[in-house]
């Protein structure tokens, strides 16, 4: 199968919807086994290994994060957080049919709320997608916050 641009766009939109609905197990299934979620801490950061990040998580770390959110002794989730994505139409930046490599770019606003607090973040999401058994999967989701290097408070869910 060769995904159309519209299918790539629909995939990115659905990914955000799963996060907003906190269907996090389903969301995790969108990643390849070697997939990563990366949120750099530096503007234009190129290396996640020798420069720290806000998040650079493989599937194991993402699973720990998701399981923790459900735990009864997870004090920072009592009360629970909620989140809300507003996406600009994703743009397809790269298509490599031979390598099954597709890249989209999506400006977005993200709101996270907890109790009486609500915080707005602005970001760009870059999805590096591939096909596994004819289904689109995330190899890398990179989230660049516009204020990645600011002194931030807790961000507890997924942008």
């Amino acid at each position: 199968m060769t995904p159309t641009d519209q299918q790539l766009i629909d995939f990115v939109v659905r990914e955000a919807r799963l996060l907003d609905q906190q269907r996090l197990e389903d969301w995790l299934e969108l990643f390849t086994d070697d997939g990563h979620y990366w949120m750099p801490v530096e503007w234009g950061q190129s290396d996640p290994r020798l420069t720290t990040s806000l998040m650079y998580e493989d599937k194991l770390l993402l699973k720990i994060r998701i399981d923790r959110l459900k735990g009864r002794a997870t004090y920072s989730q009592s009360p629970k957080s909620r989140c809300h994505h507003v996406l600009q139409q994703p743009q397809v930046d790269e298509r490599d049919e031979e390598q099954r490599h597709y890249v989209t770019w999506t400006p977005l606003h993200y709101v996270e709320s907890r109790g009486d607090q609500q915080t707005l973040y602005a970001a760009w999401a870059t999805h590096h997608l591939t096909l596994v058994d004819d289904a689109l999967r995330i190899r890398l989701k990179r989230v660049d916050l516009v204020n990645c290097d600011a002194a931030l408070g807790s961000i507890q869910l997924f942008v």
């Binding site: 720290t52 998040m55 735990g71 961000i155």
Partner: protein, 438 residues
């Protein structure tokens, strides 16, 4: 307005009892201002590392307490700490947090220029000051320098007041933790590397400092993160190599016995550390090639002694925590009675394998980032404490655990790892440095 505490030594002293402290230490804004004026003036405050300013003219802009300062490489062998304020109208001289200013600082408002030691180099249209006794003005003296600056093996500290002990006297044996961190480089040198994490906390800065030697909270507050990590890892197929991240998370949920037996060492002037015999950093996998480099540099016996030291958290009173085994330093920057900026810095061991920095950088991300699942629960606890202290039901905080009647008289003691002695030690130092100029 006359406050409760300004100029009132007795009222300040009464806030710290042997095993209790008054909530005003955390919530009272007047007391916070006095901390900035007294405690942060009479003690040696960490400014930065000299690897942040390697070339002449390089600067790093930061704060001491609430005051903006610049650390600048004024000459090859000289680092100055200057108040970041033009002596003319008060304009902060730098916009960026770091950079190179060339041979002069130049104010963006009226282009007054200053040499790197702060002295005034030039004023445009200087004729306007002729006959005004300008040379006798405060402004003509240039940028005010912080009076006492000490560069200890690359770590730059400053003290604003002439009161208070000298550098060596203030830190004493506590410098052994910095020494161990630096000696872990085969060439005995560190460099700031790996980026900084900045995390805003809606709580008093001292809650964070106390938590560094609180060993009875990890198995409770971090059960949700580290405990889950251990559970998730159990599902991995037998024989899978334990990932670095699980090695980092796992020890947070060690037993009470683990923390009891690791020990706490308490030094003069509020300094102290957990992890005398072992720590959560003791059982990390060896990094290939590193031990051989250390043996080549120091000889086997000395290399083993350096690497055998696995101190957990060292508190440099008042507002720094150091992790020598993983080259990490956190600064708890007070902004208000209920607001603190936490900066977590990491260092490269010059001459050692990159994998050490990789682990350090990962630790920082997993534990100290605003997105850290360990940090989330710590911050939740601090913020609940800050909220709970509004209660008039009880104005005192208890720090009684394993209290020893004559402990104030004892020096450089090693004690049970779950003791709150080090917290009491910090409060004794707090009283001392809050009141020594009154």
């Amino acid at each position: 307005m006359v406050g409760k505490y300004r100029g009132n030594r007795q009222a300040i002293t009464a806030l710290v009892r042997e095993t209790e402290v008054h909530r005003d230490l955390y919530v009272d804004q007047e007391l916070f201002e006095l901390e900035m004026e007294q405690l942060f003036a009479n003690t040696w405050i960490y400014v930065g590392h000299d690897s942040q300013v390697p070339k002449v003219g390089d600067y790093y802009a930061t704060t001491i307490g609430k005051q903006p300062v610049i650390m600048v490489r004024a000459a090859e062998d000289s680092i100055k700490v200057l108040h970041n304020r033009c002596p003319h109208k008060g304009t902060r001289l730098t916009g960026e947090s770091c950079g190179n200013t060339g041979r002069f600082f130049r104010c963006p408002y009226h282009a007054w220029t200053f040499r790197l030691d702060g002295s005034l180099a030039g004023v445009p249209l200087k004729s306007g000051y002729e006959g005004t006794s300008f040379t006798e003005s405060r402004a003509a003296r240039g940028i005010t320098a912080v009076r006492h600056v000490h560069n200890y093996r690359g770590f730059v500290f400053a003290k604003q007041s002439d009161v208070g002990p000298g550098f060596e006297e203030f830190f004493g044996e506590a410098l052994s933790s910095l020494d161990n961190m630096i000696d872990r480089s085969p060439v005995g040198r560190l460099e700031v590397a790996g980026g900084v994490l900045r995390y805003m906390h809606a709580c008093n800065w001292k809650m964070l400092v106390e938590n560094q030697t609180d060993t009875c909270h990890p198995m409770i507050a971090h059960q949700s993160s580290a405990g889950t990590a251990v559970e998730v890892w159990k599902a991995a197929p037998a024989g899978t190599k334990k990932p670095m991240a699980v090695e980092i998370y796992g020890p947070f949920v060690s037993s009470y016995e683990f923390f009891q037996t690791m020990g706490i060492r308490v030094w003069d002037n509020g300094h102290g550390h957990t992890g005398v015999s072992h720590s959560i950093h003791s059982d990390y996998s060896a990094v290939p090639g590193y031990f051989e480099q250390m043996v080549a540099a120091y000889g086997e016996e000395r290399a083993k002694a350096i690497l055998g030291e696995n101190r957990h958290n060292t508190v440099y009173f008042p507002n720094v925590m150091l992790k020598g085994p993983i080259q990490l330093l956190r600064v708890f920057k007070p902004l208000a009675a209920d607001r603190t900026l936490v900066e977590s810095w990491t260092f490269r061991l010059v001459g050692a394998p990159d994998m050490l920095l990789e682990r350090t950088v990962m630790y920082n991300r997993l534990v100290n980032a605003p997105t850290s699942i360990v940090g989330h629960d710590d911050l939740e606890i601090y913020e609940r404490a800050q909220a709970g202290l509004a209660s008039d039901g009880n104005e005192w905080i208890n720090v009684q655990r394993l209290y020893v009647a004559d402990e104030a008289e004892r020096r450089n003691v090693v004690t049970d790892g779950t003791s709150e002695w080090q917290m009491r030690n910090q409060f004794r130092a707090w009283t001392k440095f809050m009141t020594m100029s009154l």
